[in-house]
Amino acid sequence: MLNPDTVNIAYLIAAVLFMFGLKGLAHPRTAVRGNRMAALGMIFAIAATLLSGKFEWHYVVLGVAIGSVLGAVAAMKVKMTAMPEMVGLFNGFGGAASVLVAGSALVAAMQYVTSEGPDTQMKVATVATGIIGSVTFFGSYVAFGKLAEFLAVKWKLHLWQKVAKYGFSLIVAAGAVWFGVASFETAGVPESVGLILSGVLIGGLLLNKKDRFPGMNALKVVLSGVALILGVLVVLNPDNTMLFWVMVGAAGVVGVLLTFSIGGADMPVVIALLNSYSGLAAAATGFVINNNVLIISGSLVGASGIILTNIMCKAMNRSLANVLFGVMGPTSETPSADDVYGGKIKATSAEEIAMLFDGARHVVIVPGYGMAVAQAQHAVRDLANLLEQRGLTVDYAIHPVAGRMPGHMNVLLAEANVEYDRLREMDEINPSMSQMDVAIVIGANDVVNPVARTDPNSPIAGMPIIDVDKARTVVVIKRSLSPGFAGIPNPLFALDNTVMFFNDGKKAMLDIISAVKES
């Protein structure tokens, strides 16, 4: 058995390895090594923990084994296009783990009330962990469900989507009812009723087919208040563990409500925010069990998520409050699609696009979420390779909120073997946009909409965009003229130097490739 000082030194080493690991992520060259250093730190911390005392091993071994197998299978099987769902889900597991550790610690601490019971720090930290962790868990489930397109949708679902949707709602509601009824006598009637109510509310809200309903924002505020009041009550009566679970339930409703109305281009903000919460929940757990390495790692993750949230909000020129509570959409002043597009749209063919490359020197490709949906990243890379063989230079311009999570496009293009130094940031490539001969927009819309610069009344006014309209010729690959997430028409499509290629992203690329080969 290790003595406590040795264990704490091991924790310190683990924390340092985490920091070096994250530092490695400053460059793609050092990133693989960095991630492995962080993993080594984790092994260190776990080993030191297991050597620190006597254990009942069956729970420990079984839990680690089940979790590791599930995690490994998920990590190996997941498609790169599904990475936002995966990260969303994992945030949720982190939040749930924190809640359960805090709950378990509270129950365990109440067993030894012979001394003075849990101290104030532990009580307050338990409440904080319960609230943050529960918001993270339920919020992440909603984010996952919306990314996997089974929550808040009207269309028919696949079997697994039905299982995930109704199964989860049923488990939460039934679990709360069972637990509530079972502890009617021991825990008191108000607590039991509160738990049943919150569980049924969560289960019911999740079945909603629309992502907004009247009074939603008011409900968010009320339930946040309820969760906080319950938190104060838990601090005052720590022996009432049922009260803790009612608070977790109320916070869960808040988590559902906060994320339910968020979709599309706002997703990156929410995923980053939940990432931050999962870290803060871990840090709060550190305060519960008085553990430095939890606090340090949790704050690192919390800081990371906050920074990403900030970057995403700036990239949309919106405040976090506006993303969480506001409504994005056309206003009465938004010009109609007919006014913007009427008679000015030029549809083109793959052959005509191939001709554009004759005499061109520099091509820029601007990908958006549509490229991910069409799984077109490999075809995009093939076209770029072909053009490079013919002496053209091809760059990629990546908007910070393109896709459904921070860095989504970069991962997809890296998967397709695009060199990372070809992936240019918006601020880096915009000044040279006027020197681009051809700009190919594939599956992006709002992030290339020039009204962000020109119309101060537009819902996306002031949002930084990729200035493709300044390129000599713009090719937009899109299935139809349907609007993007902001719901507004895009005058880029009607510009003199723009041609539209109405097609599925992947098929369009393959057609262009064969047209270029033939020319």
Partner: protein, 94 residues
Amino acid sequence: MDGFVMILTVFVLAIFVGIEIITKVPPTLHTPLMSGSNAISGITIIGALVLAGQMDTSPLAQIMAFVAVIFAAINVVGGFLVTDRMLKMFKKKD
């Protein structure tokens, strides 16, 4: 220094260190940053392990901690592996 103030200090300083380190991560690596930092937040596993393995505790506390071990292990193993898989794709052709 009293115990609480001590760990509060650690918390605040760690946030500053985190901000310094993370602002240097380029946008290209933001997805691996999220999945990797998510794996790090799986550090709750050590709290879960201690509580799940306690000899003389109530079954309720133990079962909750057991489920927490599973969740945290998914986070840790899945998070690091998927990050490794992603980062290996970021290459420069020679």
